[in-house]
Symmetry: C2
């Protein structure tokens, strides 16, 4: 197997580090020595801000940097959890992305990112290997429901072009709040995860469609989906949010996306790609807010989907669960539900709290089959969701 | 025709502006009101930097911002040229991307970008319209020459999937210094340009392959391709450049890319896609450093390519042109050259200087047919190159 490091590819360049134990993050711009990750997972940051009075790194908490004689500010922060983390540099009160890293769309803007590497064996499932590679394609389509053109990304397995008569099942896969349709293949490495699973015959070859969960009908208020906090903090006071802030969901939340998906997206996919039709060939999953959207869409349209996944997000957390009445009573007849939904998957990071486990157990008590997956040691971050996808995808379309 | 604004798509959101004449740039993050562009093409920027002493916008020159009572810094700068411009915010000496815009990889890092809109009629050729859309796909492949995995993007025309037995000619299209394989479809809107040309039957349906021009063999010094200036200014002193700085090209510059392209990329493309074989079905073009690379690759391998384009970059500017000896004498026999190279295209922005026109005229004096294209009023920027592609693509494969 040929493994390779992302920095070698993204710019084709890697600075030699010699005997220095601190290795540049794989997400750095080509040639940038900082931020770097120590063997014990401490991280050293360096930023040029010659005239600044105070410079901080915000990763988890705020870490004050110290100015050296050369005008460069540095700090080494305590060991970090493995995986991908967004982080921000604050220069005299201005929050900005670190210019030394590639940027990643999260919290509604292009933020800096750092990857704390796992041991090779643990990371192998999302590492690019010498196996056949599928492709991720940008696809534009017009939505009658929103009255706008939209962009999605579509993963097709490596064999898709050679097998020009074969049709494939489809997984619809959503990002989280403040992210977009690029998240799964950029932060999530979903392409390598699927390539590796399919090459090892652990998952069926499938099409994966990654859309943007933000959808409003003409005239509806789009501001729920804008990153008001980001905008207020960084560039200007933002308009007052409807319904009381980020956590305040208007009563019609998610309905436009579901309608758009069923009216525009699914038909476009099944018209454009060699997709297998019918509910048993459609799965839907998402992370965080995308998990909530997936539960809403699938549980409201069980005639159209047979597989459902929530990664750090489902239908829990919005009032107590009552199997008789929650989600319009879809769980009331457990036998009927279990026949229809072939896999109900609930994934979570172990440090995210017990809500998902409690929900899974309540479902089991109500006779609803489900898979509970816990990612050890990770929080509400992309490594949790990479692991969720790696566990979920093999369960589909069997 | 349905036209649409990019901000409506990229995040699905557009803030209502009411009677304000200053319209948010189409490249802003969803919901961000600044930067905004006035009707006369002045631009107003706003950044939150409550504790800073000095904040500037660098776009062309440096523009001092003024702090308001609310801690927000603002400036309105004079009318700008239409098209895409990179720009930077400097907070107390720290150069960073404006958090209010999406970022774009240029000068070796993810910088801010602003689009100064052209009148609709002028911009129509790169606007998304209600025509069949091709797709841009991310493709990984292993290079034996560099010993690394590489990523390219491949545009396939809308009809590609339906016409499952048709083969297509291929244009290889390169970015410029400090950019990468994402530039043409992100900054350049090449997908909309090609969609519109093909729909109007102005250009033949073709495959377009966009690779990264940075390539070194194992053990070679990659530092030419790193953005040393960026790294030094923003994050840390960079190693001394080989050969005397950005302008100093080592004697073997470009040879690894050409070898990689002929050994790895072209065979991968012709094995993976339904590409027509042979020199008359292969074109190569690039912008700036990518134009230099295209001239080097094609003029050194005229048995493999029949079309060549340089957009603000070719083989000029590196010593005087002598038709008898330049480029290893390929221009010495004009008749033979004209038979082989069906289109030799030289494009330039009108404010970039006379070098390209002089080169074109010298070629004509030497009997070498070529097309000289000048983009009125634009500099060494993406609008020049969008216009070049729009003029160049219809000339191919006829």
């Amino acid at each position: 197997m040929k493994y390779f490091l992302l920095p070698l590819i993204l710019g084709g360049i890697c600075w030699g580090q010699g005997g220095d134990e601190c290795k540049p993050s794989s997400l750095n711009i080509p040639g940038a020595p900082y931020p770097c990750v120590h063997a014990d997972r401490r991280v050293t940051f360096r930023v040029a801000a010659p005239d600044a009075q105070k410079v901080q790194v915000r990763l988890g908490g705020a870490h004050d940097m110290t100015k050296g004689a050369d005008g460069l500010w540095m700090v080494t922060i305590p060991p970090q959890v493995v995986g991908f983390h967004y982080y921000t540099i604050v220069v005299d009160g201005a929050s900005m992305a670190d210019p030394a890293t590639r940027t990643f769309f999260g919290s509604g803007w292009d933020n800096s990112g750092i990857e704390i590497p796992e041991p090779d064996a643990d990371a192998a499932y999302y590492a690019p290997k010498d196996v056949p590679h599928g492709q991720v394609s940008q696809r534009w389509y017009y939505s009658k429901v929103t009255g706008k053109w939209r962009r999605c990304y579509v993963y097709t397995p490596s064999e898709y072009e050679a097998n020009s008569r074969t049709r494939y099942p489809v997984l619809y896969l959503l990002h989280g709040w403040g992210e977009n349709e690029q998240g799964w293949h950029t932060q999530g490495h979903m392409d390598f995860i699927m390539d590796n699973l399919i090459a090892a015959k652990k998952a069926k070859p499938m099409i994966v469609v990654m859309d943007n969960l933000n959808a409003v009908k003409p005239g509806e208020d789009a501001s729920l989906y804008a990153a008001r906090g980001t905008i207020a903090r960084m560039t200007a006071p933002a308009p007052a949010p409807p319904g009381g802030g980020r956590g305040g969901f208007p009563s019609n939340w998610g309905t436009a996306f579901t309608e758009m998906m069923l009216t525009d997206l699914v038909p476009m996919v099944e018209r454009t790609y060699r997709a297998l039709p019918g509910r048993e060939n459609r799965a839907m999953a998402g992370l965080s807010m995308g998990g909530m959207q997936s539960f809403m869409t699938v549980l409201g349209n069980m005639d159209k989907f047979a597989y459902l996944g929530g990664f750090s997000g489902s239908s829990g957390g919005r009032g107590g669960f009552d199997p008789k009445t929650s989600n319009n009573g879809v769980f009331a007849d457990a036998e009927a539900f279990n026949k229809k939904i072939k896999v109900l998957f609930l994934g979570i990071g172990s440090v995210e709290g017990p809500g998902t486990k409690t929900f899974s157990e309540a479902l089991i008590s109500a006779g609803i089959h489900n898979v509970y997956f816990e990612s050890p040691g990770t929080a509400h971050e992309w490594l949790t969701w990479r692991r969720c996808l790696n566990d979920f995808a093999p369960r589909l379309f069997n």
